[in-house]
Structures are given as C-alpha cells and as structure tokens.
C-alpha cells in the first residue's frame, strides 16, 4: 500500500517509502528544532528564559522581548531607522545593479558568443571556487585605493560582480531562450537592447527572481564590518549584533532580533520558491 503522501512508482517498495519518510521526518525535526526554539524564545517572559531545567516551548507568551528591543532601539545614539535605511540602500542598489549587469553579460556570452566568451565563462565557473576570504586582502587595497572606504560603494559595487549570479543566468538563458525567438525580434527591426530587454529578460523571469533572492540574502545580512567605520553608515545586522552582544541578559531580545532578521529572507524565498527551483534546474555544468 502506498503511503498517502507519496507518488507511486513500480520500482518503489512500501517498506522503502516508509523508511525514507521516517528519515525525512527525523532530519526535518533536527532542522526545525533550532528555528522553533528561536520563535518560542522570542515570546518567552524573563522567568521562562532562565528556567532549570530549560523548557523548549513557551508557556505564557508575551511581547516583552519585542518591547525591550524597541526601547533599546530608541535609546541608540544613531537613530535605528538610519541603520535600516543603510541596509535598504545597500540591498536595493546592490541587487538591482547585479541583476542588470549580470544579465547583460550573460546575454552577450550565451546569445552572441563573442570571441573570448568561452574563456571568460570558464574563468567565471572557476571563480565559483574562490572563497571570498582569498581575495579579501587585495580587495581591501583596491577599495581603499579607489577611495571607497567608509562609503556605501565599498559594499554595493563589488556585489554587482558576484559570479554565482552570472553563472545561473547564463545557464538559464542558454537553455530557456530559443535563438529563433531573438532572431524573429531582430527581423522585426528590434535593436540588440530591445531584444535583450523586451524579449530575453521577460522569458528568463525565474532566473532574475533567483538572482534577486541570492543577492538580497547576502546584502541583507551584510555587516559591512571591514569597510564601514562611521556609525551612521553602519548596517542593520551590525546594529542588531551590537544589541545581542550584550550577553546572557539579552537572551530574549536576541531571539526577537534573530526572528526579525530571519523572517525577511525566508518570506522572500517562500514567495519565489517555484522560480528558484526552475532556475536551479539549468544550473548543471557540462564537462
């Protein structure tokens, strides 16, 4: 008998279905427990946070931690809205620039196949392997030479050149945009920009939504620590980390902060899940 949540295939035994369901649920619990703990701790009153033995779920939920957080925010020397504004500026400009530049370049690489595009694409695939730390030292030198230290640019401009985004976009365009479609537009008199913007980009909507998500996530969590020194240019994650670093006394507020930081990227992903999965379907690397 097939389990009700499984699609049935000839090669599947019910015992195997059952075993894999058990494994999914077991690992799912392991993944979910810390998240549930964060959510439940964010609503715990003080006396429940320091119970012995510790209790996992909240018994008398309150909003005290969020109120404390609001008080801490209003007491901070730089107004809290400024940190939020900084993060929004970095996230919006970084994401928009990245999506536009990476899509343009991906379009030229896979639809024009200009001389040198193969070599460049291989370099980009290779650079998927660079840990950002490997280039941290020279990047700091470059950015200070350009005079961008302690400005938004230090975070925004390098984020435009992320190689994962270009890679995913190129793979998706190559497999999902038929050359004949572009050719038809050219015959109808469209110039290359119109072909790119009016024909190719609407077709690869799942891919740029994915690029938005990936770029958004990395910029939303950016603490800007190496490049930004002025307190009024610092980011939201930086400010929230300061609050949490208050230690054990801030355990409840810390959970409230973690919950707030988590909600945004998770919500963005939930809305776009289908597009992301479709884009990843073309991510494969052929040898």
């Amino acid at each position: 008998m097939a389990l009700p949540i499984y699609r049935k295939r000839v090669t599947r035994s019910s015992g195997g279905d059952f075993a894999s369901l058990v494994m999914l649920l077991g690992l799912g619990a392991f993944m979910a427990l810390p998240m549930v703990y964060v959510i439940s701790s964010a609503f715990k009153p003080l006396n429940e946070l320091f119970l012995f033995p510790p209790r996992f779920f909240v018994k008398n939920p309150t909003l005290d931690n969020f109120k404390d957080l609001a008080i801490l925010m209003s007491e901070s020397w730089v107004p809290f809205s400024r940190y939020l504004l900084n993060t929004l500026i970095i996230t919006i400009f970084g994401t928009a620039g990245h999506v536009l530049l990476a899509s343009l370049c991906a379009f030229a690489i896979c639809k024009h196949r200009f001389p040198g595009s193969r070599v460049i694409f291989n370099l980009i695939v290779m650079s998927l392997m660079f840990a950002p730390e490997v280039t941290a030292v020279p990047n700091y030198l470059t950015i200070s030479w350009l005079g961008w230290v302690d400005t938004y640019w230090a975070i925004i401009i390098p984020s435009w050149a992320s190689s994962l985004g270009l890679f995913l976009m190129k793979q998706f365009m190559e497999q999902m945009v038929p050359d004949s479609l572009l050719e038809a537009a050219r015959i109808d008199g469209a110039n290359e920009w119109q072909v790119f913007w009016r024909v190719a980009m609407p077709t690869v909507r799942p891919a740029w939504l994915t690029l938005i998500i990936l770029s958004f996530q990395s910029l939303w969590g950016n603490t800007g620590s190496t490049f930004i020194y002025s307190e009024n240019l610092k980011t939201l994650p930086h400010a929230l980390n300061q609050i949490v670093s208050g230690g054990i006394a801030r355990a409840g507020v810390g959970a409230a902060v973690a919950l707030m930081m988590m909600i945004v990227p998770v919500t963005v992903f939930i809305i776009n899940q289908r597009n992301v999965v479709q884009t990843m379907g073309t991510s494969g690397i052929k040898e």
């Binding site: 499984y6 030229a108 024009h112 660079f130 470059t142 949490v244 973690a258 992903f269 999965v277 040898e287």
Partner: protein
C-alpha cells in the same frame, strides 16, 4: 578592425560593465594575492620581495598553521561529503513526495541556510552551563553528571561547529539537486523499469544520477568551496582564538594575519595555498563524478 567592431561591438558593450568589475574584484585580486605572497608587506611600507620565505615559514616554521591545516582538512573531509550526500538524498526523497509536502520540506531544509545569524541560537542550545538546552537534557537523562562546556572544551568545540555547519549547509546545491530531479524525463524511468531496473537504488544509480550529472558537478563545486572556506561562522560560535586553537582553520589563520597583524605577504601566501587546495580537490571530485552509472 572596423568590421570586427561592427559585428561584436554591441556584445562587448553589453559584457563590459560586468567584466570590468569581475576582473577588478575577482581575477586581478587573485593575481595580486599570488604576487604579494612572495613579498613582505605591512600596508605602510612598499612590499619587499622575499621569494619563497613566506611559504617556507608557513609550512616548516608555523606550528599554529599546521593545526589550522589539520582542522580544515578534518572539517572539510567530514562536512563536505556529508552535506553533499545529505543534499542529494534529501532532494531525492523530497522529489517523491506529493507537491504540497514537497514545498513544505524544501522550505524546512533550506530555511537555515538563508536565515543569517539565526545559527547563533546554537550557542544557547550548546551553552556550557546547566541552562544550556543540550546540557540540561543530557543531565536529566543521566548521560552526563556535570555540564559539558561544549564551545570552550577543545575536545568538543570543532564537532559542535561541524553540526551547526551541517545544519545550515542545505543551500544552493540542495536546490540545484531538487530542480535537477524534477527535470528528469519520466519516460526514462518507464524504459528503465521495462529493461529490468528492480528497486529504487538501481534506478538512482543507473538512471537518476547519470541524468543529473551536470547538477552534481555544480553542487560539488559549491560544497567544496563552502567546506574549505569555513572560518567566519566558526569564529562567531567559539570565538577567536578558540581554546588551544581547536577551532582554528586556514581561514581564521588568514584573518588573523590579514585583519589583525597586517602581515599581508604572509596572509596572501595562506590564501594562495588554500586556493590551490580547493582547485586540486575540485579536479579530484570531477574525476570521481565521471564514474557514476
């Protein structure tokens, strides 16, 4: 030349903005790093050429670096393959579910990797006193009789960071595998069943994996990078320096010399070695992936 520009000018114009930034922030920095690794440079005085000195000192005169190498390889050898197979197996199981359940489980497994600092909650769960959730549980069950200082005890701290890393490692590769599985043509499975594929394991080995080999390669690159690049999150969990350097990795060593001591020549030598190791591992994995099916 004019004909060449007329034909390709627009293409280069499209590609140029991205490529300039890509070269300035990725390609050239790697070359600079390699060049600087042969110098002594403190960012105040101009670099001085020292030949292989940095590498000799790193490999033969720096005991802490040897600890870092040992930890990095241990960490990468355990978290890399486990996370890779976890991504694959879970994606495979999830793919068999009905759509609503599939969406739910995908989100559940993917969420930790995009939740930013939420992983810091593990410091509460693994807290070293009896208030720590895991200590509390183990004490109640009588498995331990005094609280274990998980994040400061050199015997346990690296293992705790591995657990946390695995918890948040179902990221891009996981999604790539899910998508790759959904893209496989159903008729391949029907043909396979007729040709004598009897159970799910044979089907996985002979049909599924070969059909998604491109995704497997992409996933491998992502897993190798993240398992060798562990450092930032380890520092966030156990601090720097960790007790007896038990959580010291090549990346934390690099950050130590680059961000704290400003010995840039030495720091870039570390970066270059790390980069070469990752390239070699990737070649090895690519070779292994050819043997599937």
């Amino acid at each position: 030349m004019r004909a060449f520009l007329r034909k390709w000018g627009v293409s280069y114009l499209f590609a140029l903005p991205y490529l300039v930034l890509f070269f300035v922030f990725t390609v050239i920095p790697v070359l600079i790093a390699i060049a600087l690794s042969f110098t002594s440079y403190n960012m105040l005085q101009p670099p001085v050429w020292v030949g292989w000195d940095n590498y000799v000192k790193l490999l033969f005169g720096d005991d802490v670096f040897l600890i870092a190498i040992k930890n990095t390889f241990l960490f990468a050898a355990i978290t890399g393959p486990i996370s890779y197979f976890l991504c694959l197996i879970l994606a495979w199981f999830i793919n068999e579910l009905k759509p609503a359940m599939r969406t739910f489980f995908t989100l559940l497994f993917y969420a930790p990797s995009i939740s930013g600092n939420v992983f810091m909650i593990w410091t509460v769960l693994f807290s070293g006193d009896a208030y720590g959730w895991i200590n509390g549980l183990l004490l109640r069950w009588g498995i331990i009789y005094e609280p274990v200082r998980w994040l400061t005890n050199p015997d346990t701290l690296l293992w705790v960071t591995m657990i946390v890393t695995l918890w948040m490692s179902l990221g891009t590769s996981f999604l790539a595998f899910i998508a790759g599985l959904q893209g496989i043509d159903e008729s391949l499975y029907e043909a396979g069943a007729i040709d004598g594929v009897r159970n799910r394991w044979q089907e996985l080995w002979y049909i599924t994996l070969p059909a998604m080999r491109p995704q497997l390669l992409f996933g491998a690159i992502m897993s190798i990078t993240s398992s060798f690049a562990a450092g930032k999150n380890i520092v966030a969990l156990v601090g720097f320096p960790s007790t007896d350097y038990a959580g010291h990795t090549v990346i934390t060593h690099l950050m130590d010399y680059g961000n704290i001591r400003f010995e840039m020549g030495y720091a870039t030598a570390i970066a270059t070695l790390l980069f070469l190791t990752m390239m070699a591992t990737q070649q090895l994995v690519q070779h292994l992936l050819r043997k599937i099916g």
